[in-house]
């Protein structure tokens, strides 16, 4: 009744339910009100006046300074987010620039993207998953500027995939013809990361 798996019964384990029966919680996840942090190294602190965002891989690279980026039309969105470490958080409020808006300025014919960040982090996504109102470069959370430990000044937000795809401290996208696995994707984690298919690790 709770989904797939051979599931040998653990003697005496009852659990307390997943904290949700609305159908919004993907398999293997539990609901939290916290906003836990997951990152592989120290938090980078890039001053706003040194920050820029670049999309390369089109006919020519396009770069926005922070001021130019913030002058672009932005949106506020409310999304459920799902971390591969099992927590999910419902109704998180973000402010950001849609990746659709950014790509309007880029002349490209590519199928894949790698997002890259301060600190050297990378993650790969099909461009299909970044377009059509599915992804943002977020600069605000809960009505406030995005805090550094949660990826500020700006992070990618791709809420329909596990949250490691929503690269913190993002500085640009490289558009590519071929898929190029990123940091966690070359360290045992799934290449695509759909929480609804529980694509956590290689081979899931």
């Amino acid at each position: 009744m709770y989904g797939p798996g051979v599931g040998i019964v653990s003697r005496g384990f009852r659990g307390r339910g997943r904290g949700d029966d609305s159908g919004r919680l993907p398999p293997g996840q539990y609901l939290t009100d916290d906003f836990p942090v997951l990152s592989a190294g120290p938090t980078p602190h890039t001053p706003i006046d040194e920050w820029s965002f670049t999309i390369s891989g089109g006919t020519e690279p396009v770069t926005w300074s922070w001021t130019e980026f913030r002058a672009l039309p932005s949106e506020t969105v409310t999304k459920d987010i799902h971390c591969v470490t099992k927590w999910s958080k419902f109704d998180t409020d973000w402010a950001g620039v849609s990746v659709d808006t950014l790509l309007e300025h880029v002349d490209y014919d590519r199928a894949y993207a790698v997002a890259y960040s301060d600190g050297g982090y990378t993650t790969n996504l099909p461009i299909e998953d970044l377009t059509g109102g599915k992804a943002w470069v977020a600069f605000g959370y809960d009505g406030e500027p995005l805090e550094p430990e949660h990826g500020g000044p700006a992070r990618l937000l791709v809420p329909h995939l596990y949250f490691w795809k929503s690269a913190k401290w993002v500085r640009g996208l490289r558009l590519l013809d071929e898929d190029e696995p990123g940091f966690w994707e070359t360290n045992g984690y799934h290449n695509y990361g759909d929480p609804w298919r529980e694509q956590r690790y290689w081979g899931d």
């Binding site: 009744m1 798996g5 005496g12 659990g15 942090v37 190294g41 120290p42 938090t43 070359t186």
Partner: protein, 243 residues
Amino acid sequence: MARTAVLGRLTWLVAAVTDTVTETPRVRTLILDVPALAGHRAGQHVDVRLTSEDGYQAERSYSIASAPGQPLALTVERLDDGEVSPYLVDDVVPGDKFELRGPIGGYFVWEPDGATEPIFLVAGGSGIVPLMAMLRQRRDAGSTVPAKLLYSSRTIEDVIYRDELQHIGADVVQTLTRAQPPGWQGYARRVDIQLLRDVAFPPEDNPRVFVCGPTSFVEAVAEGLVALGHRPGQIRTERFGGT
């Protein structure tokens, strides 16, 4: 859903509890027999899945405490508002079974083979667990790589692996942040930049640094080390969050 074994696929395996060790009032180690589990690297974790009689399942991740080649040991801290950890810490007895899969994680790992850089390990609370796997492997392998552990606990009763740490063969420096026993020789405050300056290998030695603990602890330690001149790329972090 039928699942076929594919190369590299992490299938769910049955783990049988063979022994338990009470480490502190809140922390217990489970020794497990998992016949088909692939070898792990120190620092990796596994996913545990518990299933209730009505088919409800809960999954959580736990760091591996044992050195590669030794029987699999998981050390679990009870989170009072947790769902899985109270069961693993308080209820499980030898002979019980649950599922797990892994090992998982290819970044927060250390291997003694070919390692020359000193390792500086910084643990907050149960963040000691994956670092203990590294220290145990270093000891078992007879590695001569210089190693230093800075371990922050609340009180002496909260120190996990208290006896074993005395003969782990590394330089162990402890701080107790909340209360100290009479005659305590270690530090008695939260890890700050001055404490890191005192204890860490100097940046010129280019130590490889592993930091594990609660988010605020990891943030403070990692930022402090960067401020002292350690290269961010040499600092690997693992944070505990959620339940």
